[in-house]
């Protein structure tokens, strides 16, 4: 986890989650047309920053932390 994900990508993810509520990483990547690995990384960082949190019950999703 050396290089940081771009703030631009993270913002796009946050915007997307705002509109979607919850989503799986792979759907975020598809929707944004970004490489999945980059999205995984960016979401990881958003998690460490406390911006998003993980949902689990029927599978795994991320959502913005309320």
């Amino acid at each position: 986890m050396s290089d940081q994900a771009s703030t631009e990508l993270k913002q796009k993810i946050v915007d997307y989650l705002k509109s979607q509520g919850k989503a799986k990483n792979r759907d975020v990547a598809k929707a944004l047309g970004e490489e999945k690995k980059l999205v995984d990384k960016a979401i990881g960082e958003l998690g460490n920053e406390g911006t998003i949190e993980y949902l689990y019950l029927d599978g795994s999703y991320v959502k913005l932390k309320d």
Partner: protein, 387 residues
């Protein structure tokens, strides 16, 4: 005075060590443990669980490692209202110094109920019972002391392996090191759920499979060898003279019919091409027979419990692979598997189920492996073939 827990008290009797006694020991110091006892007694009365579905609780940055839990009778047992579990990743092979263990105990004395499972059945240290507000502090202190969380949710789960070369003469691979290395390499996959469902890795250093990897791991690594078992004829003679019925108990039980015994000469020989590396003769005549020298592992895919499409035992994927640090080939294989599964897997579908649904053929292509007869018990019998 009558006991509050007459039913559980019954379980303090008898020779096997009692978990009730353990809960009571903690109950002396921890109100949470005390109320846990009450909740469980209530279950024993009502014959029903008194735990509700967990809400979403956790520590910052991670999507797992904590199981949220609430009782449905908080009015009766307020201290058990929150009873979250923290899964702590064990050191490979479940070896500990007492210092490390005592540190974990101290942390749990401070931040939780003082109750644990040593260990959970995936292999984690289970710290059983704490409140939401204790999670982050407990986690912080754990990491300060060199411990990290294990997996939960739709993520990689805590890998585990048998004791292997640390204490076993049959180890064909260094299971503790392999598990440690994989765990470290895939920290991100372990802590941040993003897949269709859970994914488990287990490694046993020989086909005896002392961590039940083939039944419980999506990705199963089992030590084996390519050359012949090695037989020490002097030691064979010794077994024979001590009365071991080599003919009936060893030769006749060999599933490959690979062994021959000359009772007169007390000489045991093997047809290496017929040996299935089952371990039977080795296990029973460990002083005389050992695995070959050209060691490595068989990799199998898909083991899991019954939900939803039925249980699966892992299936042969790579019959033989060298297993040496930095384990690049294995790691690359894992990445390819995850990519394919993440792309094609449905929600709550384990890798075996995705393979079952889409066919082994497509899967093999995606992970760059060629079909070989070792992957199947037998070829198809039906004529419904795609070309």
């Amino acid at each position: 005075m009558a006991s509050d827990t007459p039913l559980l008290d019954e379980l303090e009797k008898g020779p096997w060590p009692s978990f009730v006694k353990e809960i009571k020991r903690s109950a002396g110091k921890s109100p949470k443990a005390k109320d846990l006892l009450g909740v469980v007694e209530q279950s024993y009365k009502d014959k029903i669980t008194h735990w509700k579905h967990g809400g979403i609780v956790g520590v910052t940055g991670y999507g797992g490692g904590v199981i949220g839990r609430y009782t449905d009778i908080p009015e009766k047992f307020p201290n058990a209202e929150q009873m979250h579990t923290i899964r702590v990743n064990h050191p490979s092979g479940w070896f500990y110094t007492t210092k490390a263990l005592r540190t974990v105990c101290d942390i749990w004395e401070k931040h939780g109920s003082g109750l644990t499972n040593m260990h959970g059945s995936t292999g984690d240290i289970i710290l059983l019972g704490t409140d939401t507000d204790q999670l982050q502090p407990a986690f912080n202190t754990l990491t300060e002391n060199g411990f990290d969380l294990g997996g939960s949710g739709s993520a990689l789960r805590t890998p585990s392996g048998c004791v292997g070369p640390a204490r076993c003469e049959w180890a064909c691979i260094d299971s503790p090191h392999l598990i440690y290395d994989l765990t470290q390499t895939f920290q991100d996959e372990l802590h941040r759920p993003r897949w269709p469902y859970k994914f488990k890795i287990k490694a046993s250093a020989c086909p005896n499979d002392c961590v039940a990897a083939i039944a419980r791991a999506d990705f199963t690594i089992i030590g084996t060898w390519r050359d012949s078992i090695r037989i020490d004829q002097a030691a064979v003679k010794e077994y024979a003279s001590k009365g071991l019925d080599i003919e009936n108990l060893i030769v006749a039980r060999c599933p490959g019919q690979a062994l021959e015994y000359d009772a007169k000469a007390q000489k045991l020989s093997v047809k290496p091409q017929d040996c299935l590396r089952c371990m039977h003769c080795i296990s029973k005549m460990t002083k005389a027979i050992r695995p070959g020298k050209e060691t490595g592992a068989t990799i199998l895919i898909g083991g899991k419990a019954p939900i939803l499409r039925g249980a699966f035992l892992s299936w042969v994927l790579v019959p033989f692979i060298k297993v040496e640090p930095p384990y690049t080939e294995i790691k690359e294989l894992l990445e390819k598997i995850w990519d394919w599964w993440d792309e094609h897997g449905r929600n709550r579908e384990r890798i075996a189920e995705t393979i079952g649904r889409l066919g082994l053929k497509d899967f093999l292509k995606a992970v760059d492996l060629k079909p070989i007869p070792q992957m199947v018990y037998h070829p198809r019998s039906n004529p419904f073939v795609f070309f």
